[in-house]
């Protein structure tokens, strides 16, 4: 039996882009200021480039894409290049799940609007590096993630605070479970931009691409 949402495939991937996409209503005037209205909170986008791969790996990728039924089903996406904190990826022990967390938006003039995340209950000295992800899970399999803007290390009491982007969406309830290991968010495939490589003689050629956009739901 397959449980949905599935985890995204991890085979055959040679390149990835995991970025924030935002809608902006920019000023159309060339000489004017660039600043304008934003169109709401940003969403994560995922683009996976597929390289040459064996038929066995292609079977897995094809089954995944087929099973998503275009944009009908959600899947669990994560940054395949950063599945755990960078400092601890080499085996330095760390605690994956903080006992509690809090989130606030700065009102200082120097960093107005910057979102700060505070994690409590980590190991003393545990390091969060720039680019590390923190995932939040709640409700019926709902999840989203934020990315660290700066490096920080936990105090002797296991507390660490750092700036994150994007600001944690308000849809995340206060009781959500935070995790530092393989932070995921729900995504749907973007139809028309997900293509698979062609079968050649003995292997499947490069050129496939999987494109997806976050589906942020309460």
């Amino acid at each position: 039996m397959i449980a949905f949402p599935r985890l995204m495939p991890t085979v055959g991937i040679v390149s990835k882009a995991f970025q924030l996409q935002r809608t902006d209503y920019l000023s159309p005037e060339q000489g004017g200021r660039l600043g304008a209205m934003g169109g709401g909170p940003p969403l994560w986008s995922l683009s996976l480039g597929l390289g040459d791969m064996s038929f066995e790996h292609d079977d897995l990728i094809t089954a995944f894409v087929d099973g998503q039924r275009g944009p009908m089903r959600r899947f669990l996406a994560f940054d395949i290049g950063r599945q755990m904190p960078r400092f601890h990826a080499g085996g330095v022990p760390y605690r994956e799940t903080p006992s509690s967390w809090s989130h606030g938006i700065s009102a200082e003039s120097s960093d107005a609007g910057t979102a700060y995340l505070t994690l409590v209950g980590l190991l003393p000295g545990q390091v969060v590096s720039t680019g590390d992800y923190v995932g939040f899970g709640w409700g019926d399999g709902r999840c989203t993630m934020v990315r660290a803007q700066e490096s920080a290390s936990a105090t002797a009491g296991g507390l660490v605070a750092f700036a994150v982007e994007p600001a944690l969406p308000r849809v995340v309830p206060a009781g959500a479970v935070a995790t530092l290991r393989r932070a995921t968010c729900l995504m749907r495939l973007v139809p028309g931009q997900t293509t698979l490589g062609e079968h050649g003689l003995g292997y499947v050629s490069a050129g496939g691409r999987i494109t997806a956009l976050q589906d942020l739901v309460p």
Binding site: G38, I105, P169, R170, P218
Partner: protein, 209 residues
Amino acid sequence: MKIFSDDARAAIEEGSATSASAIEILCDPPVRVWSGYEPREIDGVVHQPIGDAGLVKSTGASLGGADQGITLELSGVEPASLALFDASMLRRAPVIVRRAIFDSSATRMLDVQPFARGSIDQVPVEDTAGGTSVIRAMVETAARGLGRRGGRMRTDADQRLISPTDGGMRKISYAGQVNLYWGGKKPANASAALPGSGSAAGVSIVNQA
């Protein structure tokens, strides 16, 4: 005009504001949606999230001109929200469109103001096979016919909907037009002088009366 709070004005001037729109349609049951991602209380009532940045598509107005109305466009919305839009319940329901200003993190609401009020005029649904599916809600503002009792009485066709034998409006179906021909040949027949046909040689000035 709309008067935003100091915080919202400062964010707009700085270029760090984020806008969202909320729509309240007072049919039965009322539909309250907004363009964010979490249920949010706006002016005392909870609006459901549909996460659509293009909620309010077009609004327009010109001083002294005809009222242009508002088009609300919903595309790619959650099926749960789609179920709310039962077209048979929406007829002439009052609508309030609100515009909310957030800070740059898009999580802290600085201000929310009613942007326009009106009533639902038409709710066309467009499904393009292999393309997009869009629900549009066209909203009439108070400047256009909110006070009318019956159907609109503007053209002959509208009048005949009320009474098939009433031809009292048949001569005012079109706005009058006068074509002046300066230095050119007059059209050979009357049909060429009507709008939509090829223009005669020379300069023509169309004067809309």
